[in-house]
């Protein structure tokens, strides 16, 4: 049954009991972005120390895919170097584009999102949190604007 590919236990678990869903006081980096298709909005907070993700959390509301992806992401990048976190973001996007065959160890729970590839429009839901993470890390503090083009 195709639906099981996308609504796996682990996804629903992260959705119903999201990890690290809170503000992170003292986070140096944060960024908010939304999915223009549905208006779902995610904020990612990062506390960096010595070039590592010393703390990470998220806030926002959204569908099971965007929320579980954010929750899994916080677990996956916690403790990694900023470079590793960015590289995982890029691998995750690669998996969603059907271009990267995910490494089970690196991906952990995230591998459950692989089934989303079959639902092209939902891919945006899955990568939203990763886009926000990447902007937060790259913007180094200034990327708090949510909008790419101010009208």
């Amino acid at each position: 049954m195709a639906l099981d590919d996308i609504y796996k236990e682990v996804i629903l678990d992260h959705y119903k009991s999201p990890r690290n869903k809170r503000e992170l006081p003292g986070a140096e980096l944060s960024c908010t972005r939304n999915n223009p298709l549905c208006g779902d909005e995610i904020t990612v907070f990062v506390h960096q120390q010595d070039g590592r993700v010393a703390g990470v959390s998220f806030q926002g509301a959204g569908c099971s895919i965007s929320q579980s992806s954010a929750s899994m992401m916080t677990e996956a990048v916690q403790g990694r170097s900023l470079a590793e976190a960015l590289s995982l973001a890029s691998d995750f996007r690669g998996m969603m584009a059907g271009e990267v065959d995910p490494d089970e160890e690196e991906f952990g729970d995230l591998i459950a999102l692989k089934g989303v590839v079959k639902y092209p429009i939902r891919i945006k839901c899955a990568v939203l949190a990763w886009d926000v993470l990447q902007e937060a890390l790259q913007g180094a503090g200034e990327a708090t604007a949510s909008a790419p083009h101010e009208a």
């Binding site: 629903l12 549905c38 208006g39 779902d40 569908c63 839901c125 009208a151």
Partner: protein, 415 residues
């Protein structure tokens, strides 16, 4: 107008469905239940064939060729204009400007009328339930002219809150631009009352009829609106068909939005003179085959009778509202089917609309999930998105049952 319309009668939906080849498609072996006609409608064979027939037998540019194909193409294109004019009871074909659809038409209004006549401090009155296509063009015009946008708010029922209309609609108001039917809430506002009130303070009225025109009889002379925008693709016609109705004196006064071939009279290096309406707005090669297809769509709708169309949708909407609420859904917009059209926005328990749409898709049911290009409505009701089922001439009560049954799948997974 079809003479059938004089006698109220209902749609023979089975016969209607046979005219839409796409309804034969299946999803996971289940029949397609298409409940997203507010986004775009499907096309009957008569429309598809009218477009093919144009290309295969009468193709030429319009208003140019002195040869027989050119004359046939011009006749077909202008024939479509005549059909559109009659459909809306416009006083004449010259009051119909062809465009790609409502978005282009509203931009033509905001630019061709707005940039010419609005100055700093003038007010444009919109409503909180407008589609982005009736908001963003005005914001762009406001940036250029300094005019101010104001919004008629919504009640919790999703209808216009007209309590403070007197303070919103004043002599500063130069135009009221309002949807004929909200695509996000289904709400049909009291248009005649609004037109009267606007005219009383000297404002003109533009109506975004993207949703209204496909679903009920619209008489621009009875409504007395000054401008009215519509999309062919939502009323059984091809994508890229549609237009803008305007009172002749309003269109006459407007500037064109596009310069180019065929809208001019004489071109000199430093200036040009323009043709009369509607041609001064129609630069370059137009959507010829598409407007011909729109003409065929209008023939088809008039064959059904617009009163029958509206009655059918009222019946199905009323049934859907009842069944959805019974199933535990929260519905947005007015509960009274007399105040609304067949676009029903809802949340099913706590299932995010995105998840709901994906799950329903597995059951063959196509609904829309998102902000429906109406972020102001979403903010008003404190939700990022809603699920939306919308109905048209080919939908049946049984399809509503399939929708409701499919909700159970979502319940299994999420609740």
């Amino acid at each position: 107008m079809s003479s059938d319309e004089r006698h109220p009668r209902s749609l023979d939906v089975a016969r209607v469905r046979a005219d839409f080849p796409i309804l034969e498609r299946t999803v996971n072996g289940k029949p397609l239940v298409y409940l997203d006609s507010a986004a775009t409608s499907h096309k009957p064979t008569a429309v598809i064939d009218a477009v093919s027939d144009f290309y295969a037998h009468h193709n030429a540019n319009a208003h140019r060729g002195l040869y027989f194909l050119g004359e046939e193409a011009t006749e077909a294109f202008e024939g479509a204009r005549g059909k559109v004019a009659r459909f809306f009871n416009a006083p004449g074909p010259e009051t119909i400007v062809f465009t790609r659809g409502t978005t282009e038409s509203m931009n033509l209004v905001a630019q061709g009328w707005g940039r010419k006549f609005l100055k700093a401090g003038d007010e444009v009155l919109l409503t909180e339930m407008e589609h982005h296509s009736n908001i963003v063009p005005w914001q762009m015009t406001a940036q250029v002219t300094g005019c101010v946008l104001r919004y008629i708010p919504l009640t919790d029922d999703g209808v216009l809150d007209l309590t403070d209309l007197g303070s919103l609609l004043t002599e500063r108001t130069k135009i009221l631009s309002v949807t004929g039917m909200s695509n996000a809430l289904g709400t049909i506002p009291p248009l005649s009352r609004l037109v009267e009130a606007a005219h009383a303070v000297g404002a003109i009225v533009a109506i975004d009829a993207a949703q209204l025109a496909p679903h009920s009889r619209v008489d621009v002379q009875a409504l007395d609106c000054d401008l009215l925008a519509f999309s062919g693709h939502k009323m059984l016609g091809p994508t890229a068909s549609g237009g803008l109705y305007g009172k002749a004196e309003v269109l006459d006064a407007m500037d064109p939005m596009f310069g180019g071939g065929e809208m001019i009279y004489e071109v000199y290096p430093d200036h040009s003179t323009y043709k009369e309406i509607p041609y001064k707005f129609e630069a370059g090669t137009m959507q010829i085959a598409q407007q011909v297809g729109l003409g065929a769509a209008i023939d088809y709708l008039e064959g059904l009778g617009m009163d029958a169309v509206r009655r059918h949708e009222r019946e199905i909407t009323s049934y859907a509202l009842g069944r959805l609420i019974e199933a535990g859904a929260t519905v947005f917009g007015p509960a009274d089917p007399g105040l609304r059209g067949g676009a029903v926005s809802f949340w099913y328990r706590d299932v995010h609309p995105h998840d709901l749409a994906t799950i329903l898709n597995e059951e063959g049911v196509a609904i829309r999930a998102g902000h429906h290009c109406a972020q102001l409505v979403m903010r008003r009701f404190g939700t990022p998105a809603t699920a939306r089922a919308s109905f048209y001439v080919y939908n049946t009560l049984e399809e509503v049952d399939v929708l409701v049954a499919a909700l159970a799948r979502a319940q299994d997974i999420f609740v």
